[in-house]
Amino acid sequence: MVDDGIVLNALRKVYPLRSGEVMALDGIDLRVQRGAVHGIVGESGAGKSTLIRCVTGLERPTSGSVWVDGEEISAAGERDLRRARRRIGMVFQHVHLFDARTAADNVGYPLRIAKVPAARRRERVAELLELVGLQGRGDSYPAQLSGGQRQRVGIARALAADPSVLLCDEPTSALDAATTRQILRLIRDVRDRIGLTVLIITHEMSVVREVCDSVTLLDRGRVAEHGPLAEVAGRPGTRLARELIPLPPLPAGGAGAGVEVAFAGADTASVFRTIGGLGDGVEVAAGTVETLGGTQAGRLRLDVPADRRDEVLRALRDAGLHAEGGEAR
């Protein structure tokens, strides 16, 4: 089976501790297709970093397997692993540039390791620095660059050896909002241009909304929710839907029962037409509509007279919308 992209099969990772053990990953199955940008979210300690470290081969799984572009990383010997890693680029939260080397030498480091001749290396480094918008800064040392510039050097270094997979562990959590947007746009551009497979860990839902095609929610080492962005956002009542499309605070007052409507991939206007046709007393109390993965997705909170609750729910579902009755307020 030749499978491009990243495949995790029943991945488990147990860390032994003096007192017992930690189950960091507990049977993860995951498939990220070539060219997709996949987000991994979850609480601190959920196992996100462990997962990405297993993909790089820095961490050996306790059981299960990890495949990158059809090659089994989890079974590779040291030499194979070194070769396989040329196909993997990694961006770290704390960048981890080499302080003793200039930006250009940092970017050129993977090429030096791959024994690319100096002249070709210089060309490629110039190309990469331009790609990340740092032309002319090649001679600067990391200490002379801003946080966002350093992260861009980090991305250029990760891309230097033409990887087919880019792994990012919280690449933007040390950056401000504007810089974050630049970095995410850069990652997306690169994906579009060279068909990179991207795995991106984050704790910011805005990052998921902005760059990801699909997302996995990890919870204590297990996959809790998983799917294309529009799809997970359209499942009302799930954690990802709640966090991807947060509802604004409900206005005070209101009577009757609350009904929650979630939709994704639907035409927003037709959703509102449906709601408008529900008749007397049904009002939108709060709502959010976002563009996710290229389609519209939203969550609405309706105020419904208590005696019409079941009827309204049925009508909404008949119209192809996800709807759930909340508790009466």
């Binding site: 790089t56 070194r82 070769r83 770290f92 981890h96 540039l97 080499f98 791959a114 050896a161």
Partner: protein, 225 residues
């Protein structure tokens, strides 16, 4: 200024002092060089073999650590005396600056190894991982990341080692190694020529000052953080 004329006409100063100064420089220079050549790999090995190193190995680490600790805990004079047979075998004599290089080196290697280990330990694990993910081998990580990134610390540690060697070389003087230390003891202590001793001490202090200043300058020039 009669003390000055007296000083500059003293044969101990005019004849013996330049010779002794050169002996000290040779003694310190050679043992510093050998200490770096021995101590750096030993320090890297200590770091790599410890848990969290590039190639963890509990037993190797424990043995290395023990050897280094024993080497560092022996008082230099005792080390020098204990090493006399080895020194004779290596240099053909137990006297002279060449002979002193042996115990000085043996004493300085574990000293510098610990300082090098500490300097290399300062390199964050993430940088090592970044290099490994670029496909670097252990050897490439060792030279291109661990040593290169900790160069300022390695130089500072080397400076400390050289300064320690200057003071040990004066001690070696007491057991026949020659050099400024020997001159200071044999004239100042044994023949009550305090002026000779003071001149020697001043020279030693100046030497240490110079070494420290140069060491700091080099470390700073290498530091891009």
């Amino acid at each position: 200024m009669s003390w000055l004329t007296e000083l500059t006409s003293n044969p101990a100063i005019t004849d013996r002092l330049p010779e002794a100064a050169v002996e000290t420089l040779l003694m310190v220079g050679w043992s510093a060089l050998l200490a770096a050549l021995g101590g750096l790999p030993l320090g890297l090995w200590l770091r790599s073999s410890d848990p969290g190193g590039l190639r963890p190995h509990r037993a190797v680490n424990a043995v290395l650590s023990l050897v280094v600790n024993v080497g560092r805990s022996l008082p230099f004079i005792i080390l020098a005396i204990a090493l006399i047979p080895v020194t004779r075998w290596l240099t053909g004599s137990a006297l002279g600056w060449q002979a002193a290089v042996v115990p000085l080196t043996v004493g300085a290697i574990p000293f510098y190894a610990r300082l090098a280990e500490a300097a290399v330990r300062e390199v964050p694990a993430g940088k090592v991982e970044a290099a490994l993910l670029a496909g670097a081998s252990r050897r490439q990580v060792l030279a291109g990341v661990l040593v290169r990134e900790s160069l300022p610390g390695l130089v500072s540690g080397f400076t400390v080692t050289v300064v320690a060697l200057v003071s040990y070389s004066a001690m070696a003087g007491a057991i026949g190694a020659g050099g400024l230390g020997f001159l200071a003891i044999s004239y100042g202590y044994n023949r009550f020529q305090w002026d000779v001793m003071i001149v020697c001490v001043v020279l030693i202090v100046l030497l240490v000052q110079l070494l420290q200043t140069v060491g700091d300058l080099v470390a700073r020039a290498l530091d891009h953080r």
